[in-house]
């Protein structure tokens, strides 16, 4: 017996245990594929994870499952024709995408929308911010196990979609903005509906908060989970509410005021922690700020036209096309060949619900963009995902993906 033990000890002594550890003979590390068809990845995001037991050692996100070649499509159509495609990028906030794209085109053409149109754009952008954040809040809460909030959020979002129906004529893929303005004026009925909504919404939001803010399960699943430091976040290019949740007060509505944001009074919520809970608080506060913005806009809404009178850039009014020769020619040229922008390149970015959404347009002087690049916020946010995932447990994966609010239609373009 003793001989045997001695032999074992001797053989163990000869072995290079250090090398075996590195090679991991027991196979504690495991490769796990998540997605692209997985309910918790909010779309067709695929992640390849390296696991050590239940802990995530490394993560590699894979994109491209929803790649539709929007940038190639854009090069082959006039500036206005591309508008419906912007609806389908961040499909949770189509109205702010429309506005973002049109602002870039207007910058290229060198025109500006009338004041009333700008106010309407702000109202619909902020409404779509609330709608987008509501979808996020609902699905995020559902991801960590609170199903009621999901129902409540979608009930509130339904009200916003009904308002969009009144304002734009459709509920979802709106294509509402036009070069130099918006498609149609906002009616009194719609303004009444918006006012009713913003009067009611803070109360409803408070109700939702009551379900979550002191919910022990929710707090424990989000507090201190998915932490990213300020330096890391800036280095990796994190954007939107996720960046504001690490203490960087970057909001393009304040930094580079577009539309009429410099005439409005609102705050930028910033939290320092950089975890899932901070991202939750940022978005919650943003919804309240949006309500504030919409209320001011409705009060200040000036009267006047909703579309610029720029025959070389944007379509004239229908009744004038039918009665005036000049307008008919402009309409024909604009529809068939697009406008005539100057040669040059512009970049315009807005603060979308997800972050900085920018359009970079290279123009060669024809009615078609020579190159159109979409800087999508979800793309940048997903790039930061591995940094947030490392060291956390696989159960936290769902909460972390949920907290950065990715939309794959936009990340994949």
């Amino acid at each position: 017996m003793e001989e045997k033990i001695e032999k074992i000890v001797e053989s163990l002594g000869k072995k290079n245990i250090q090398a075996e550890f590195k090679e991991d003979p027991l196979g504690t590390e495991m490769i796990l594929n998540v997605g692209p068809q997985h309910p918790a990845t909010h779309g067709v995001l695929r992640l390849v994870l390296k696991l050590d037991g239940e802990y995530i050692v490394d993560a590699v996100p894979e994109l491209g499952y929803l790649h539709r070649g929007k940038e190639k499509i854009a090069e082959n159509m006039t500036f206005l024709e591309f508008l419906p495609h912007t609806d389908r990028m961040d499909y949770l906030a189509p109205l702010s995408n429309n506005t973002a794209y049109m602002l870039a085109v207007e910058k290229l053409f060198g025109i500006e929308a009338p004041k009333r149109a700008q106010y309407i754009r702000v109202i619909v952008s902020e409404l779509s911010r609330i709608a987008s954040h509501l979808v996020w809040l609902g699905t995020f809460a559902m991801d960590v196990g609170a199903l009621t909030v999901f129902m409540w959020c979608f009930r509130e979002r339904e009200k916003i979609l009904s308002i969009f129906d009144l304002v734009t004529g459709v509920r979802f893929t709106t294509s509402y903005a036009r070069i130099g303005g918006v498609a149609q004026d906002i009616t009194d009925e719609a303004i009444h509906a918006i006012r009713e909504f913003i009067d009611n919404f803070p109360k409803e939001l408070a109700q939702m908060e009551k379900l979550l803010n002191k919910n022990r399960i929710f707090i424990e699943r989000t507090d201190g989970i998915g932490v990213i430091t300020k330096e890391q976040a800036i280095d990796i290019g994190l954007t939107g509410p996720n960046l504001r949740a690490v203490g960087v007060p970057r909001d393009l509505r304040k930094d580079e005021p577009y539309l009429v944001y410099n005439e409005l009074d609102f705050d930028i919520p910033v939290y320092e922690e950089g975890d899932c809970l901070a991202r939750y608080y940022v978005r919650l506060d943003e919804m309240r700020e949006s309500v504030k913005i919409i209320r001011q806009c409705i009060e200040k809404l000036p009267s006047g036209p909703v579309k610029a009178d720029e025959p070389k850039a944007t379509h004239p009014k229908k009744e004038r096309i039918y009665t005036k020769m000049e307008e008919l020619i402009h309409d024909f040229i604009l529809t068939n060949f697009g406008g005539t922008p100057p040669v040059g390149e512009v970049y315009h970015a807005v603060e979308n619900p997800k972050g900085e959404l920018g359009f970079y347009i290279v123009s060669d002087g024809t009615g078609y963009p020579w190159r159109l690049k979409v800087k999508s916020p979800s793309f940048a946010n997903i790039q930061a995902l591995p940094l947030m995932l490392k060291g956390y447990m696989i159960a936290d994966l769902v909460a972390i993906i949920g907290s950065i609010d990715p939309v794959m239609g936009e990340a994949d373009k």
């Binding site: 290019g237 580079e256 940048a380």
Partner: protein, 169 residues
């Protein structure tokens, strides 16, 4: 922070490396020599006055011309000065290699992968230069102007084809 100040600083440090600069609609574009892009980026990021610490975007442009066919465009933002700057390098078709700026901003990683995927511009020193949207074995670069809008028939195997073949066989 004004445009003149940025230009002054840049021209002081990189005299011959600034090819040209232009302004359109209030946006400053600086064209830099391809070989010097990493140094220029590092300078722009680390200079305490400029501090362009946030990389917004990198993208490619295909001008479809004889000389300097492609361009790589860097879109920078300074969190301190709240200022935007566009850097540009021209890339000739015969030498499609640009030094990678991933050592300056980690954010460049995916943006450079996207540019490689869409235009075939290679970034030397990139840690993981794989295609990001298109399949790994795709042979073409879809955003080049000579790639047709409708695609090249047979370049991507469509799902379900194998079954059809088996049934026919």
């Amino acid at each position: 922070m004004t445009k003149d100040k940025i230009l002054e600083k840049l021209t002081n440090f990189f005299k011959e490396d600034i090819v040209e600069f232009s302004e359109f609609r209030g946006e400053l574009t600086i064209v830099v020599k391809k070989e010097k892009i990493v140094e220029v980026c590092k300078f722009l990021k680390e200079d305490p006055d400029l501090s362009f610490d946030y990389l917004v975007d990198i993208c490619g442009v295909d001008y479809y011309r004889e000389k300097d066919r492609f361009a790589v465009v860097y879109n920078l933002w300074s969190l301190k000065n709240k200022f935007r700057l566009r850097l540009k390098v021209y890339v000739d078709e015969s030498d499609l290699v640009v030094p990678s700026v991933t050592s300056v901003w980690s954010a460049a990683n995916w943006h450079e992968r996207e540019t490689f995927d869409m235009f075939g511009i290679k970034f030397s020193g990139h840690p993981d230069l794989r295609r990001i949207y298109m399949p790994e074995d795709f042979e073409y670069y879809p955003l080049r102007k000579d790639f047709p809008l409708q695609g090249i028939p047979g370049s991507i195997p469509l799902p379900g084809r194998e079954k059809v073949k088996i049934q026919q066989g």
